[in-house]
Every structure is written in C-alpha cells, then in structure tokens.
Symmetry: C2
Subunit: 582 residues, 2 copies
C-alpha cells in the first residue's frame, strides 16, 4: 500500500531478519535467497517465496528475480555478475540496489580503496603486491608493522595479516594464500594506521543520489570482531562533523540506493580516514533500532524501493550495543540484560551456537554514555568471564567505563546537543568560569563554552542570545568582570534563564560587577551568584534543568547528601584529633 515493490534479498542472516521487521511494518513483501531453510530472516517471513540456495548461485538469483521488483543484499559476497545480468536483461524489470557494479567494487578491497583515493576521499596509504618482493618494498616505504590484506572475501579480520618485521614478509604473504587469485584475488599492503579510535557512520543513499548520515559511533573490536558500539561516539563536535563529512563524501561516489556502513579510523592528529565500506546494513548500526528516529534497516528498505528516507537523528541521548557472540557467557549475559532498564535483547534465532558466531546483540539506551555503560556492567561481566583471557577482558571493560565516567559530557558535545551555554566577556575570565564547566561535566550536562563580549562584540552577543533557544540551549551562564553588561544584555535578548557570575577584577573587589549584574531593571531578570563563584552557577544551571528532568534533580539530591557527609566527616575528625591538632 505504501509501496508496491517486492524486494528480494540475497542472504537471510540477522541483517535480513531485522530488515524483515521493518518490511512488515511498511508492508513491503520480502523474499529471501539463502541456503538455510530456517535462515533467521525466513523465520519472520511466512507468506513470501524464499529460495533455499546459496546467494552466490546465479540460477537461484535469476529465479529470485522472477518474482521481485528490486534485488538487494544483506551480505556483499554475492555473485555480482549474475546480479548484473538480471538487471541488464532486455526484458528485465528488476532493479538491483545498490548496483551490482557498486557491490563488485566493494568486494575488491583494493579497487574500493583506489576508487576512493582517486576521488579525494582520505584512505591510508596502500599498494598492490603482486609478489612477496612487492611486500618487502611496501615495508620499506610504509615501515613496520605493515598491514597485508587480501583483496577478496576478507571480513571480521579474516584475510588480514600483520607483518611485524621485514623477516615476516614471506610468512605473512603465504598466510594469505600468496594472493591466490581464485580465493583471495590478490593482496595489497597498507600503511599501519596508528589510530586513536575506530569510528563508524551509517550512510543511506536514496535513489536520487541524496546521502544522509546517522550520528558517528565508536566501535570497539575484540579479536577483530565488533564487540561494542558507543552512540554517539565520545568525540568532539569537530571530529564528529568531520567523520560524517568523510563518510558522506565516500558514499556519494558510489552508485545505487541503500544503506552503507562506513568504517573509519580517527588518527592521532584528529584526522579521519576510511578503513572500509559495507554496501548493506552494518553491525555498527544496530543501535539505530532503539536509538534513532528510523532504523538502518527501515531506511535501507525505504531507499531501495524509493520511499522518502526516515529521520536519522537519535531519539534518545545515548545508546551502547554489545554483540552476543557464541560463548559460554552469552546466555547469562542475555538473561542478565532482561533486568537492566533500557536494555533490549535481540536473539537471531540461529539453530546452533558456534564459538564466535554472532547469535544476537543487546542495545541499552539511557541518558548518557557513562550511565548506560555503567548499567551494562553486569552484562559485560558475563561476556568477559567467558573470554580465554578473562582478566584482560575485564580490565579492558573497566578502562572503557572509567574513560566514559571521566568525560561523561563528551558524548553530549555533539553538534546541536549542548543544553547549557557558558559565555564569558574575556578569556581572562576563564580561570573563574572553568569551575562551572567542571560542575556540568560532573552532572553529565552537555554544554558549550565560548567568549562573547558585550562591548567588543555586540553583534555576536545579539546573535548568540537570539539563536540560543533554537540551538537547543535551555540555560545560559554568563560571567563578566568590571561593568559586566554581558549577563544583562543576553537576558534582554532571550527568554532562557540567564545566570550571571560577577568576576572579581583588579580593583573594587568585584563589587562593581556584582552590582551591574544583579541590579537589573524590572523586566529583565539575571540569576546572580556570588562573586567568582561559578561553581554555584553550574549547580544553579543543573537545578534549573531539574525543573524538566527528575533524574537531574535526583543527582542534585545526592550531591547535597555528599556535601553533608563531607562536613560530618570533618566533624568526626575534629572530635577525634581535637581542634589543636586539626
């Protein structure tokens, strides 16, 4: 009714299964080609025609095409020649989305990289290696460790070999079948990427070539397989923007409609390079089911049948996804997740559990990455314990948790997300205003901090105040010294509550600033705090947000309790040691 197009999917694994959920909601008939009669996707599709055959079987592909209007894939290792053929047949009415050519290009990682590099999309340095000598040459040029990669059939770390030293060139080359054309289709060498993080962006391309991206996520691998996905990625707004720009640029160079997973490296210098692309829904996009306006699966279907694309923004503040790979800890992890608020368990219905096989995943949504990750601790503990190196696995998890707890608000500095704006008349006020920022971080409140001078940048002040609400701000903290017109002038041009911090200058003890901030005319209120006390400005902002968010208020309750406890501890101590030795 929404779309008359029947869709054929090559592959019926978990990606096809989650596609089927979306297909049912939009009443898009889905037909699956997969060797397994009980393939995960087929379990959800009772009244469509499936084919039990390999998705690499040309005849089966032709057969699927006979009762479909669009063919698409949930795995890239398909017979693109056969796809090309069905699409090209003169009498054919079947489309292939994305195009067979795009899938073929992506199948060959070397061609994929050449294609991107030629179009100015940043990729690591690489060179084809016809023989082992070429590997040594690459080693000399790129240095060691050197990454060797098979051109074809490489995924989840398979088809990759690390060359630690020049001596290992031969063994590494051999470990990849010496580039046997019939299997790996050749080998290429890549300069080792010294990356800070691995990021990923899901990009959906409509039939008219428009590309829209989802928020950037951080992916954390285990044994080269996706283990955790943090959404949004705990990176700066600048990095997040750059990652989406690069990912969109990469997909804009490809033909055909559908969703694409773009794996990225965030380098030491904050630059972003493309690692590789998947022409299909991607593990790093599973979080979109619970956390975004439209899931990657629904948007893939919308794109291939030519429906308007759904929103890609997150509908919740934060989400973390963990894969359930076949292991002894998996069942306990899933069971535990049932009791974790905000957790959704996805099991894929795979008949037999093999070690390392993707059996399901768990997505937990919540108000911040640090809170979500903390809530997941019991789930992750089961998975860590099942690892051969359980201790280092647990340590790794703890490290991530501490990292997120240490910088809780980083996740919130995504574009558009700050809810509090901290501004100061001059950078000389920063030492005083920093305390407000620290409080907001402590309470996981997303904020922005910048300089706006009432007297030196009046136009900027007006611009800042008038756009504050639309940019998502709900409260502004303004610090200024001397005549201190900033808070009042901002309050006069926005309806948001404005908190004023009088900054003590070299003369008059800050009383001048206090008076000019607090003694506002009737009609324009400024919530004034003590001279230099931007800590209280931050706390006041949190209390104001508490008007909207009970969770915030609860945190403030705890904060007050902690303060009381600290004083009581001092009482204890002074009783214990006496005032003389205190």
């Amino acid at each position: 009714m929404i779309s008359s197009k029947r869709v054929g999917v090559l592959g019926g694994g978990q990606l096809g299964r989650m596609m089927a959920e979306a297909a049912h909601r939009l009443q898009i008939p889905l037909h699956i080609l997969d060797p397994a009669p009980q393939a995960p996707a087929k379990q959800l599709l009772a009244h469509t025609t499936h084919i039990d055959a390999p998705f690499t079987d040309p005849e089966a592909i032709r057969q699927l095409a006979t009762h479909c209007d669009v063919l698409t894939v949930e795995i890239e290792h398909v017979d693109t020649a056969a796809l090309e053929q069905v699409a090209r047949r003169p009498d054919s009415v079947v489309e292939v989305q994305p195009t067979a050519g795009t899938i073929a290009l992506i199948q060959d990682k070397l061609r994929q990289k050449e294609h991107l590099r030629a179009r100015g999309v940043p990729v690591p340095d690489f060179v084809a290696c016809a023989d082992v000598e070429a590997v040594a040459t690459a080693g000399n040029e790129f240095g060691y460790p050197l990454m060797l990669k098979a051109r074809r059939m490489a995924y989840d770390g398979r088809g990759n070999a690390v060359v630690g030293t020049a001596e290992q060139c031969t063994s590494a080359y051999a470990s990849l079948g010496s580039g046997d054309p019939s299997s790996v289709g050749g080998i290429y060498a890549e300069r080792w990427a010294h990356y800070r993080k691995e990021l990923a962006v899901m990009v959906v391309r409509s039939r008219d070539g428009r590309v829209v991206s989802y928020p950037v996520v951080e992916t954390i691998q285990r044994r080269s397989v996706c283990h955790l996905v943090l959404a949004p990625a705990p990176v700066s707004a600048k990095v997040a923007e750059e990652a989406r720009r690069v990912a969109e640029a990469a997909i804009a160079t490809l033909d055909g409609a559908g969703i694409f997973g773009v794996e990225l490296f965030l380098m030491e210098d904050d630059s972003v390079v493309v690692n590789e692309i998947a022409p299909r829904p991607h593990n790093s996009g599973h979080y979109t089911i619970e956390a975004c306006q439209a899931s990657q699966f629904e948007n893939h279907l919308r794109a291939v049948v030519g429906l308007p694309l759904g929103g890609t923004a997150m509908s919740v503040p934060a989400a973390v996804m963990v894969n359930l790979l076949g292991s002894s800890g998996m069942a306990d992890a899933a069971q535990t997740a049932l009791a974790v608020p905000g957790a959704t368990v996805h099991l894929y219905g795979k008949p037999d559990m093999k070690p390392g096989r993707k059996m399901g995943h768990i997505t937990v949504v919540g108000t911040s990455l640090s809170r979500v990750f903390a809530a997941m601790a019991p789930i992750l503990a089961h998975l860590d314990r099942a690892e051969s190196n359980a201790d280092s696995a647990a340590a790794e998890t703890t490290a991530i948790r501490e990292q997120l707890a240490a910088a809780p608000s980083i996740s919130a500095t995504q574009p558009g997300e700050p809810v509090v704006g901290i501004i100061m008349g001059s950078d000389s006020d920063l030492p005083v205003m920093r305390a407000a920022a620290q409080i907001l971080e402590q309470f996981d409140v997303p904020f922005e901090l910048t300089i706006v001078s009432a007297h030196r940048t009046p136009a900027r002040l007006t611009e800042y105040a008038r756009t504050a609400y639309d940019r998502g701000l709900r409260c502004i903290i303004a610090g200024a010294g001397g005549a201190a017109h900033l808070p009042g002038m901002v309050a006069a041009q926005t309806s948001l509550p404005v908190i004023g911090v009088p900054v003590k200058g070299s003369t008059l003890d800050g009383v001048d600033s206090l008076y000019s901030i607090v003694q506002m005319p009737r009609g324009i209120p400024v919530a004034t705090v003590a001279i230099n006390n931007s800590t209280n400005a931050g706390l006041l902002a949190v209390r104001m947000l508490g008007v909207r968010d009970d969770a915030q208020l609860a945190l403030m309750d705890r904060y007050l309790a902690d303060q009381e406890a600290q004083v009581m501890a001092k009482v204890e101590r002074i009783n214990l040691v006496g005032y003389k030795n205190y």
Copy 2:
C-alpha cells in the same frame, strides 16, 4: 534459550503481530489460533504451528494446547470454559495466563465492575437492569443522560446505548437486544461520567503477582474508537500518580500474569475512576514500542513465561500515537508520515481495508507533546479530511494542538497545583513580594505564597524545603530582609532552584540582605535578583519553568516584545511632543 516455554496465542490480529516481533527477539516460539490463514500475526511466524480456526472453538483450543506450555490471549472474547478445561486437565501441563477466571470475569462487564467495587477500586455508580423498568429506576437514581451497557461482547462503543431522557428508556433497552442472554448476556445501567479526560494505564502483572505500570496516557476517541494517544498524559503529577495507583490497585485484584489495559475517567474533581479493563495488550499501549524501555508486547510475553519484567519508563520525552482506521485518507496519512522525523508507521498487513477497521497506527516521538503534535499536523489533516464531518474533525484536531501549545506540560501548570512557592521571612516583606505573585498570575503559573522565617520558624523552614518537590513545586522564590538567611537555608535543603529577593530594610539600603543572599558558599546556589525587585524574581521563575515548558517560553518571548513595544511607544511620543512637553 532465554525461555524454553512455547506460547499459544488465542487471536492473531495486530496485537498478536506485535507480540510476534517481541517473541522473535527473545526467541520465544509463538503459535497462533485464528480463523484467518493469513492473520496479521501468522505473517511473522513462519516456523511455528498455527491453527486456522475460531479462537472460540473449544476443540481448536485443546489442539493448540497440545504443543504449547502457556496459552494467552490477544482478545478477551474467547471460550474461557475451554481454557479452564485444558488448564484443569489432570494430565495437562499447560498454563493459561492470565487465568481463564480473570478473562471470564472481564468478559462480563457487570461482574468486572462488581468485582472492582467490592475491592474498593473506584468505579462509576452502576446497577443491573433485568428489565426496562429497572432502567427507568436507574434513570431516576442516576439521572439523565444515563449510560446503558451490554454485559458481554461490547467493545469500541458497540454494546453501549445513551439514554438521553426517561422517554428513551424503552428504545435504548431494545437497541441492546433487550439484554438477550444468548448475545449480550444482560444489561446494566451506569451513572453518566462527566469526565474531563479519558486516561489509560498499561499494567503488567508478573507470575508472582507483582504489578508494574507504564506512564499514564490520555486517549482521545472518535466515534467511540481510540483515535489519539498522548504520552505522557498532559495532567498534573498528582493526577498521574493517582491514575497509576488506581490502575495498579485494580490489576492487583486479578489472577494470572500478563499485561492489562486499564481505561480510566479523569473526573471534574480530579478524581480517577476505572472505566474498564482489557486482559491483554491494548491500543493505548502501542506507543510503548518506540517510547518505552520495554514494549507492552515484550512485557506481556515476559510476564506469561515468567521472565523478569522490562523497564516501563519512557526512553523519550513525549510520544503521540494515531490509529489508522480504514478510510480514504489512511494511505495518504501513512505516506505523509514517512517524511515526518520521529514517526514510525505500523501497518498490520490486513488483506482488505474496511471502513473503520484498524489497519495500522503511527507513533511519533519527540522532545515535547506540543512539538510532536505540531509535527503530526500533515498526517492528521489527511485523516480529518476523510471524515464525513471533515470540518469539525479538523477543528477538534486544531483544538487539541492549541491546548498542547498553550500548555505543553500542563503537568507543570495544572490549575490548583502550585508549581512555584513564594515565601517571605515576615509579612512586612509582602508589599515587596506581591509583585512576584502578580507576575506569576499574569503568566498563569499556579503558586503558593506563605511566611517562613529562618530564625523564628526553623523547623517549618526545614519541613517546607524538604517537602517542596513532593508537593509539586518546581521553583521557590524566597524574599527576606536584614540578615536574610531564608533563601540560603531553603536552598540548602532542596534540590529545586531557589530565587532570592533581598528586601530593603530601614537601614543599610538592603545591601546587607543582598550580600547575605548572594554570597552563598560553594555548593549551595541562590539565584539572586536586585534589591526589592521581586518582579524579576517572578519573571526568573517563569523562565525556569520555560526550561521544561515551551509555551511558558513563548509567553516570555511575547512579554519581552511587549516591553520593547512600550519603550518604542515612548520614543514615538518623545519625538512627537518633544522633550519639553514630555
């Protein structure tokens, strides 16, 4: 793997279909009993055993039981005797959840009401009517209009008849088949409920009898069928709490596990009474799929198989659901929704569209009810246009929109429930503090005003501060002169934002009060305004409420614009008459 229990469902409509989505994720095998071979639920369940027979067919129920561990329902009009039988069979290992007895009780609306009333759950006055004379008697007691209801097979307004006047008793009674036992199973009369709103609460009951509720929603009917659901309901915190209390109390009186839909009336006096109960997932709970931690469908399955219950809290600030009933506007509405960010379209895969048949629904999530409803305007326009009385339908929609825009979080500004507390150290401060009260009146913000002295009533101060939040306050304005300890002492004992007004005394010009209010130690912030300027305190309070309430913010925008206009008028005048005559 998570649960070994196989579940049989009586009924395979949209509720069973959405149950199936949840079942797949948890790998719970679902078997459907429904006459339609292509029933919506069966379309998602390829590899389980379904029975194509009426869910009222005892033999079919027995057959279903043979390959299930638990039987449950997605519709209450089933053969409870047969359910009772399979559960009771000595050799039987099958459970029925909720129990056949509970389903039977609910099938008979009269028994349902008697059961609830007997257990102290508030319900409207009602009386059984054995004949038409009894109807007249009821009319005399309850007054007119009087509501006549069939005991059985009544839903979506069917089986109800309004008796406008004593003269209509006979016709109304006849319109319900004169209580023919074989069909409607008798008739009862109910006192007309003069309600302000219709509310609904989904309550899930675990096998150990624990009850957990979802947030209360407002339901808006059209032609007695659910049209819109607003989540959370735009009611005061107090009303919301009462609604959940009543709903939980009602379900606590029933046997068996599963989700229950509790329809409620919010009466003029803010009391809440139960209208009726559904022993299954409910239309008013569809929003939980996108908007809550665990959906009503997943929690129903978890409950009936005995898994831990999932979180019921909303994971997004607001959601609105609209039903797609068979109509000429339905397709356009669904198409339009595809382009609305935050909208999820659910089509039920029903073969043929009949007028009024539930074909699907659309849920839109967002940051506030007013924003979500505004975003839905183009969707609702298509549905309204398709109504026979298109104009009044559109007017109805506009009215809801304006109501939400005027007070998107009415919950914050419900008449009668103060959200701001104005306190002063002494009645001598009233002349100054009155201005704050006037501002709040001007902005329609409910407030309370009283005297609390830090030095003369310290205990009262503590009591006031510590209970402020629970009493519904979201912000406190404290005015004091002299040493002025009141604002700080209050701020130290609540997490709500506190605004301090220094009141000018007979000496020191109020500077003493200003200093003692503004110079708070780190940790306890007080939003200080100018000496004697309680006008700005009121305006600041409104801005703070604006953090949660877009309408409040809009009003403040207008206020600032008015101020500007007033000054500009004076500019005009001084230009016109010249400064000499001004």
